[in-house]
């Protein structure tokens, strides 16, 4: 008798538990959808929050070092101060242009997906954890590449902004192993550019199935 009396209660609690799990799943599913940012819906960033990490003993920013402060930097200036530290200013213009788009899209994606570490909320840090950033390090050749490609974005066919990641790769090679690994080979961009490919062909070589689109309301200036 006692067991029969408790049965509806147990059934009720079990149903409640299942309902909670389903609700949580739906909520997380909705959050995942909410994090997708489409080109044109999210405006072009004007600023970016850069976490400055402490230096190691030789005076270079330590990727695992303590965050000292978060600097709010003009987005264009940030990209300009990253490109010469990631690409070589003496490289082919098409290589620099593909690099400029990768640096910009990487920064844009992380601007839309900030993180909080050690009480600091930021978009990127100044080390190779994200992209190597050094204030006042922009160069003429890389600045030109950045402003030539500033109105352009390389996105998913749906218009979704995604992270254009990259790695060094190897010299004098197209670096086939990087193709469609969601990472572009930096040395590969220089190789392909020297073979006569333009920046769009280089991007399409590494990020298969993506689209180049115009960013609404963004000019070259």
């Amino acid at each position: 008798m006692v067991h029969r009396a408790w049965f509806p209660l147990r059934l009720l609690s079990a149903l409640t538990l299942i309902g909670t799990v389903v609700a949580l799943f739906n909520a997380s599913h909705n959050i995942a959808h909410a994090q997708i940012s489409l080109i044109g819906q999210s405006g072009f960033p004007s600023m970016i929050r850069v976490a400055i990490r402490e230096n190691n003993m030789s005076g270079e920013p330590d990727p695992r070092g303590r965050i000292i402060y978060v600097s709010t930097v003009n987005f264009d200036q940030y990209c300009r101060d990253v490109i010469p530290n990631e690409w070589f200013p003496s490289w082919h213009p098409a290589s620099l242009e593909s690099g400029a788009i990768a640096v910009k899209m990487f920064a844009w994606y992380h601007h839309l997906h900030p993180v909080t570490v050690g009480g600091f909320t930021f978009d990127v840090d100044n080390t190779v954890n994200f992209q190597t950033y050094k204030a006042f390090s922009d160069q003429d050749a890389t600045d030109r590449a950045y402003y030539r490609t500033r109105p352009l974005a390389f996105v998913q066919p749906s218009g979704e902004i995604f992270e254009l990641n990259y790695r060094a790769g190897y010299e004098n090679s197209p670096n086939w192993q990087y193709r469609n690994s969601q990472k572009m080979s930096q040395w590969g961009t220089q190789f392909l550019a020297s073979q006569g490919r333009d920046f769009l062909q280089i991007l399409q070589f590494y990020y298969v199935g993506r689209s180049l689109v115009q960013i609404p309301g963004v000019g070259k200036g």
Binding site: G59, E60, N85, E86, F88, P89, S90, V128, T132, F136, S137, D138, Q139, D140, A141, R167, A168, G169, Y170, E171, Q177, Y178, S181, K183, S185, Q186, W187
Partner: protein, 212 residues
């Protein structure tokens, strides 16, 4: 047998004395030669001694020294000097390019004129992994400011390079020991990756070869 031994002893003493005298004479001869400035005896007295080439110290800086060497690769460099605390441009600072001993003054915007600067790569790594960029060293001086030594400015052939030097104002009371400030521009990360991969052993992979 005894006679032979005695004769041997009698012979050994004068032989040792003669050898000692001979070796002494050699020592005195070589030391005398060294003192006279010749390492070997002069066998041909008729040949005149080679006179050392007159040594001319290279002319320096503003004294007509031309830093442009034929065959040397060059890039264009422009230096900006700013106040390290206010980040405002510093006019009238003197920037010296150490490798060429050239001196330049900054204008109101803190900029030097465009400098034709050599692209010098370190010979240390030439046969290992060729350096991807040259390096230059600069010093900036300005009255009332700490000297700033800026090392390792990355130079590329035929390309323009801009660099910024921070100078810090000397504040009496706060600055008790005034010495130059050093900035070292690091090697480019792409070159460091190549260098590490160059010496990596398959049995000691470390972080492993560069991969996607």
């Amino acid at each position: 047998m005894r006679l032979v031994r005695l004769q041997g002893k009698r012979l050994a003493l004068p032989l040792c004395t003669a050898f000692a005298l001979f070796s002494l004479s050699l020592v005195t001869t070589s030391s005398a030669l060294a003192a006279s400035g010749n390492s070997a005896p002069d066998t041909n007295q008729s040949v005149p001694k080679p006179t050392p080439a007159p040594r001319h110290d290279p002319p320096r800086g503003s004294s007509g020294y031309d830093p442009v060497v034929p065959g040397q690769k060059y890039g264009d460099l422009r230096v900006k000097v700013i106040d390290g605390r206010t980040l405002k441009p510093l006019p009238d600072a003197e920037v010296v390019v150490l490798e060429t001993e050239q001196r330049f003054r900054t204008g109101k915007d803190g900029l030097t004129p465009w400098i034709k600067a050599p692209v010098l790569r370190s010979a240390r790594f030439r046969f290992l992994v060729n350096e991807l960029h040259g390096q230059l060293n600069l010093i900036s001086y300005k009255n009332g400011y700490r000297d700033s030594v800026h090392m390792g400015v990355r130079m590329n052939e035929g390309a323009t390079t801009r660099t910024t030097i921070w100078q810090y104002k000397i504040e009496p009371g706060l600055d008790r020991r005034v010495e130059p400030v050093l900035f070292i521009e690091p090697y480019h990360r792409l070159w460091l990756i190549q260098l590490a991969d160059r010496f990596r052993r398959p049995t000691q992979l470390g972080e492993g070869y560069e991969h996607p």
